[in-house]
């Protein structure tokens, strides 16, 4: 909420700044077609992720093909597969290591809400610790559903204001997660 108020203030000062809006649009256009993925794959959805990246569905068509295994160079954290509580600090660390701007993509029911695993060991959705941009349900999701999610994310990225960034670290520190 605070961010939104600031945004209004920002806009108020600049008035109808056409230039800023145009720059935001251009940068948003550049960003939305050039996601470098960080695939954080822990479980069975990974198989379906391969199909998404493979020749039949080809995530490269959306410009999101280059998996960068260094979080510094990645834009989109794709969390694929069940995240247990043991995994949370690792996921949080990877998220914190990513350079701004960064987005999080929850892939599959386990990541979105814990899915089938409503138990003591599984995190009930990664949005308990990270800000998630797109939730894609399914166990695992159909590749088309992933592309739907990706296009929804592209719509957000296109219209983002610069004042949204930096997003900062995750909600909890490493000590709190342990």
């Amino acid at each position: 909420m605070g961010v939104e108020n600031e945004e209004q203030g920002f806009e108020h000062v600049l008035g109808d700044s056409v230039i800023l809006t145009t720059v935001e649009q251009v940068v948003g256009w550049g960003r939305k077609f050039s996601f470098f993925l960080y695939p954080f794959i822990t479980a069975c959805c990974g198989m379906e992720f391969m199909s998404v990246a493979g020749p039949r569905y080809d995530i490269d068509r959306f410009g999101a093909a280059l998996p960068r295994f260094s979080p510094r160079q990645a834009d989109l954290l794709i969390v694929v597969g069940t995240i247990s509580h043991k995994q949370l600090p690792i996921l949080n660390k990877v998220y914190n290591q990513m350079a701004e701007p960064k987005w999080v993509f929850a892939y599959g029911a386990c990541v979105v809400s814990g899915g089938m695993y409503d138990n003591y060991s599984t995190a009930q959705g990664i949005d308990t610790i990270l800000p998630v941009d797109v939730y894609v349900p399914g166990c695992p999701p159909r590749p088309e559903m992933v592309f739907d999610g990706l296009m929804k994310l592209q719509d957000i990225v296109q219209n983002e204001k610069f004042s949204k960034w930096p997003r900062g670290a995750g909600k909890y520190t490493a000590e709190e997660l342990k």
């Binding site: 490269d60 410009g63 260094s70 510094r72």
Partner: protein, 369 residues
């Protein structure tokens, strides 16, 4: 104002020519080939894997085969946060990408990309600096280029980076020796270090390096790929072992510069291969003078020379493009070597083979003469 009053006016044509050539090479490398190679790498890998590749970005409904994705990548990388890790050596961290890019560009100074043309009384040589050490200069500059990776590795304050840097240093030292020896056979055949002279001899189709030195070509190709640090010799940035090797801690524009350095190196390697083994700017079975007299008889001497220059430029860059596609093919086909295999290949296979190649070339040359 009389132009002759300007001090040093007699050097003006040379100066203008030099500036034009530098600008041309710079734009070819940084402006045309580096972005285009990003696209080619993407699209070619996609086609090789039966995919279609990037094609969604569009301006006014035109996707132009996904070429916009190059632009989106550039915009994204420029707008990305420039990250400097804690405990990093900040000046060196800043310096490293430049150290990686600049030598790759400088190496082009001694590569001829066209012959000599007489344009309106001015003699134009299409080479920036025709040094008599030629090919050695390229080796020297390639050696400097190593420091980009090493400095980046050290400055990042990261264990994976450091390992990548150590591997880079080891690989570069090993393969520079082998690379120097593989090229000796070529130099013996053409009896010159000057790349322009080597290129001029190859006007005759059967004097192309690929026919005279096939073994030398293969060995040099392997060494050049290793110097370039790409698959199958990408042990310094082995993703499954070292995250991203020496540029693990780089983001945004600096990371893009490492990328650009890699692409410029590919162009440089392709250009060297073209000059040494594929007849530089010469068209097979067509001599310079023959084509020139034909063009002169049609459009006159000056325009003819100009036309010939453009034809030769097109031929040269066409050959370079072909080799680039070939190098990309290798990059997307072959699996990565293990570290010990790379060292074994360098010291135990390529080096002895290069020595045998030198010996054989020497014997044949003695017999022929």
């Amino acid at each position: 104002m009389d132009i002759t009053l300007i001090p040093g006016y007699q050097y003006m044509p040379e100066l203008v020519e030099m500036m034009l050539k530098i600008v041309f090479i710079f734009t070819m490398n940084v402006g045309v080939f580096a972005p285009l190679l990003g696209y080619v790498e993407r699209k070619q890998s996609a086609l090789m894997q039966d995919r279609i590749g990037a094609n969604r970005a569009a301006i006014l409904g035109f996707t132009i085969f996904g070429l916009w994705h190059t632009m989106t990548d550039a915009i994204k990388l420029i707008a990305k946060e420039d990250f400097i890790p804690e405990g990093a050596d900040k000046p060196l961290h800043f310096l490293a990408p430049f150290v990686a890019v600049v030598p790759a560009l400088i190496a082009f100074a001694v590569i001829p990309f066209g012959g000599t043309y007489y344009l309106w009384g001015h003699e134009a040589h299409l080479i920036i600096a025709d040094l008599d050490v030629g090919i050695l200069f390229i080796f020297a500059v390639a050696g400097i280029g190593t420091y980009g990776a090493v400095i980046a590795a050290w400055a990042s304050n990261n264990n994976w980076s450091l390992l990548g840097g150590v591997r880079t240093a080891a690989q570069m030292v090993s393969y520079e020796v082998a690379m120097g020896l593989t090229i000796v056979g070529v130099l013996m055949v053409y009896e010159s270090l000057k790349l322009t002279e080597i290129a001029l001899i190859q006007e005759d189709f059967f004097m192309w390096g690929i026919f005279l030195q096939p073994v030398g070509f293969l060995l040099f190709l392997a060494c050049a790929l290793a110097e370039n640090k790409r698959v199958p010799f990408d042990i310094p940035e082995a993703e499954s072992e070292l995250i991203a090797g020496y540029f693990t801690e780089y983001s945004g524009l600096k990371f893009a510069m490492f990328w650009m350095a890699e692409f410029v190196e590919i162009v440089t390697i392709s250009a060297i291969l073209t000059v040494l083994f594929f007849g530089a700017w010469h068209i097979p079975f067509v001599t310079h003078d023959g084509l020139l007299s034909l063009l002169t008889s049609v459009v006159g001497a000056d325009i003819g020379n100009l036309l010939l220059m453009f034809i030769h430029l097109a031929v040269f860059w066409g050959k370079v493009c072909f080799l680039i596609v070939f190098l990309m093919l290798i990059r997307w086909s072959l699996p990565r070597f293990r570290y010990d295999q790379i060292m074994k290949l360098g010291w135990k296979i390529i080096l002895p083979l290069a020595l045998v190649n030198i010996l054989a070339t020497g014997v044949i040359l003695l017999v022929v003469k």
